[in-house]
């Protein structure tokens, strides 16, 4: 087994490891939930679906930041669109389609499509820019999405859909339902997201991203990242390939948003603000640019960490900030890196037989 693993290409090994990591984690958690008294505890239980959603968000953002090399500071906007569109869709279908897994799946597809369309529209202007200018424009779009979504009112009754903007002018018939309530966000009467759906979505995201990265398209995307001019000179349409990465990422973020939205009783547009975008970026950078399993672990660990730090109460965020700074310095400072590198070498020399897929 270990021999076979060593013979694999590095990227393949990393892929196998990522799938294995996700599947093992899922199986362990499911076993605990089914057989252990009290399951995984109510705190973690309540976090399972958000963790899945954040993992998918981190994977989606990693595709843009790590693989395509563009810094996006507004990815929470796509999550927001997915959450609102998907939830509205699911609530609207509640009467027609009682089977909730199917409704959830359709809602996620819908959320993904809406986010992808928006991703394309935003991508057209954004991808003409470079570097920090591109970053600030994505930030701007994130803020615009937040402002607009906060002012959308959408409701449905016997006469069909009603939409109003800025002020709630909708007069509903009896039995009508409010789908999106402007600043009050969405109220879900049923929370239809499940942990299994979250797991499936993580697997889908991984499959989509790995297949994309290991295709001709993916190589073109990375070529454009590494040297734009060289890539252009061999006939790669840089904008087109960056656009593919951006739209796929937006679609995944939209699906993650739907999963998240339908796991919450209520959520508001201001939840998906700049801070949420940054939070997801932190997952990606901490997990490693372009490193998918790193994103998975970082997203899960950093979602659990603030909860685990609860006993520190008011010091919690202070500790979180310090940990963040220290980890960034530890992983990026040359002196610290060589220090850890030496420890790593020593460990490896002592235990050469343990070198498996995990230690690449």
């Amino acid at each position: 087994m270990s021999k076979k693993l060593r013979q694999m290409k590095r990227s393949t090994r990393s892929r196998v490891f990522t799938y294995a990591l996700v599947i093992v984690a899922f199986v362990v958690i499911q076993l605990l939930r089914t057989f252990k008294d009290g399951g995984v505890g109510s705190v973690l239980e309540g976090q399972l679906i958000p963790i899945c959603a954040y993992i998918v968000m981190a994977l989606a953002l990693n595709l843009v930041v790590g693989i395509s090399g563009e810094l996006s500071l507004g990815h929470a906007g796509f999550m927001s669109i997915g959450a609102f569109a998907g939830s509205a869709f699911a609530i609207a279908l509640q009467g027609i389609m009682p089977l909730s897994p199917l409704r959830l799946a359709l809602a996620m597809v819908f959320g993904a499509i809406v986010a992808a369309v928006l991703g394309f529209l935003i991508g057209v202007p954004v991808l003409r820019l470079n570097g920090d200018y591109l970053a600030i424009v994505t930030l701007a779009f994130g803020e615009i999405i937040k402002s607009i979504v906060t002012n959308i009112y959408l409701a449905m009754d016997g006469k069909g859909l009603h939409f109003s903007f800025l002020n709630d002018t909708i007069e509903l018939e009896d039995g009508g339902v409010e789908l999106i309530r402007g600043p009050m966000g969405v109220m879900n009467t049923q929370r239809i997201s499940t942990f299994i759906a979250g797991f499936v979505l993580v697997l889908i995201a991984l499959t989509v991203i790995f297949n994309l990265v290991n295709s001709r398209t993916g190589r073109a995307i990375m070529a454009a990242r590494d040297n734009r001019i060289a890539a252009e000179s061999v006939g790669i349409s840089v904008t087109k390939y960056k656009m593919i990465a951006f739209v796929v990422s937006a679609a995944l973020a939209g699906a993650a948003g739907t999963l998240y939205g339908l796991s919450q009783t209520t959520f508001v547009a201001t939840k998906f603000d700049f801070n949420t975008s940054i939070l997801i970026l932190v997952f990606v950078v901490l997990g490693g640019l372009g490193n998918m399993w790193g994103s998975v672990i970082a997203a899960a660990a950093l979602t659990i960490l603030p909860e685990a730090l609860r006993q520190f109460s008011e010091l919690r965020m202070l500790v979180y900030a310090i940990v963040l700074i220290l980890v960034m310095i530890a992983t990026n400072n040359p002196t610290m890196r060589s220090f850890f590198g030496r420890i790593g070498d020593k460990l490896r020399r002592q235990a050469p037989e343990q070198k498996g897929g995990a230690a690449q």
């Binding site: 109510s42 009783t265 970082a298 909860e307 006993q311 919690r316 980890v327």
Partner: protein
Amino acid sequence: MKKLRILSLALAGALCVSMLAGCGSSDQGSANTPAAGGETTPAGTETGSTATGTAFKLGGTGPLTGGAAIYGLAAQRGAQIAVEEINAEGGDIQFELRYEDDVHVAETAVNAYNTLKEWGMQISLGSVTSTPGIATSVLNFEDRIFALTPSASSPDVIEGKDNVFQMCFSDPNQGLASAQYIYEQGLGEKVFIIWKNDDVYSTGIKDQFVAEAEALGLEVVGDATFTEDTQNDFTVQVSQAQQAGADLIFLPIYYQPASLILSQAAATGYTPKFFGVDGMDGILTMDGFDPALAEGVMLLTPFNADSDDEATQNFVSKYQELYNETPNQFAADAYDCVYAYKLALETAGCTPDMSAADICDALIEVFPTITLTGLTGDGAGITWDSTGAVSKSPKGMIIENGAYVGMD
């Protein structure tokens, strides 16, 4: 270099685990969230749990950090004072209080709620703010843990949930009462509203105010709004009100932005009447606020820190002693919540060894029947109907010479 990443992640993981392990042993000590004044007085938890060894586990979530921390901390401290008083008396009902931080975010509130559930919470103070309150109230309903929220005022918090009650007026009721009050007292001819667009509380009051004003024939000449991100400048809103010829500006918002509106209106020499809601309470307690700016501001509020009432005086002086600031209505509502629980638990004959679900069933029966003379009851007392909505009379106040004076 990837091994470095693994190492750092492992380090972070180890840190995480060590903290988890560390907390396991310190759980008892931290049950009482260390508030600023926690060190100066014997913690309520200890008096509670050591006196009889049988205390009701009372939990609540609220923003203890972040931009909305002022509301969460006030509620936590108000409840803490009540718990300490009750435990010091040494009666049959003893409480063990624990507040968890929700940063005014629904998702974190759910985590905070689950933390309290794992701790063994028997009765709940819900959440302090509305959006998190809606999220946790659903869980309260599903888990059959009774909740009485001090200040989550959205009607969505109690709607359809038999075991979730409110201590504060619901938002629409405030809007309704304000419109009626302004109309009946003839306070203004042309009303302008400045409200906060991304706030459930403000939107709820404003919508109902507009509807009621229309029904009464009170003229609303316009409205302007702002968001969390644009609440550092109100020159536009103020000049819109001035152009509209408004003689009364209705402010269904919290006191922090309101103080800026007062100041910017004064700076332009525009002097309409200002009418606020319970969120305006606290404006006089801001460090460095010039009370002259608030002269003549009217508000409907259930609580008045300057009241001569003995219970209020007692509460205010204790709060000032412990936390070095004047309590606002959040603190008073939370204080009343704890006393309401005491009264209800006594009436229902509950004991701390009962399960949360049994206590819940008993309290659902009892709550609509009790009358509490609380700090926020204005002498007439506080009652609830079976939907969970509170009934207490809001008090019209006007600020004169830097103090509240009753308006009628």
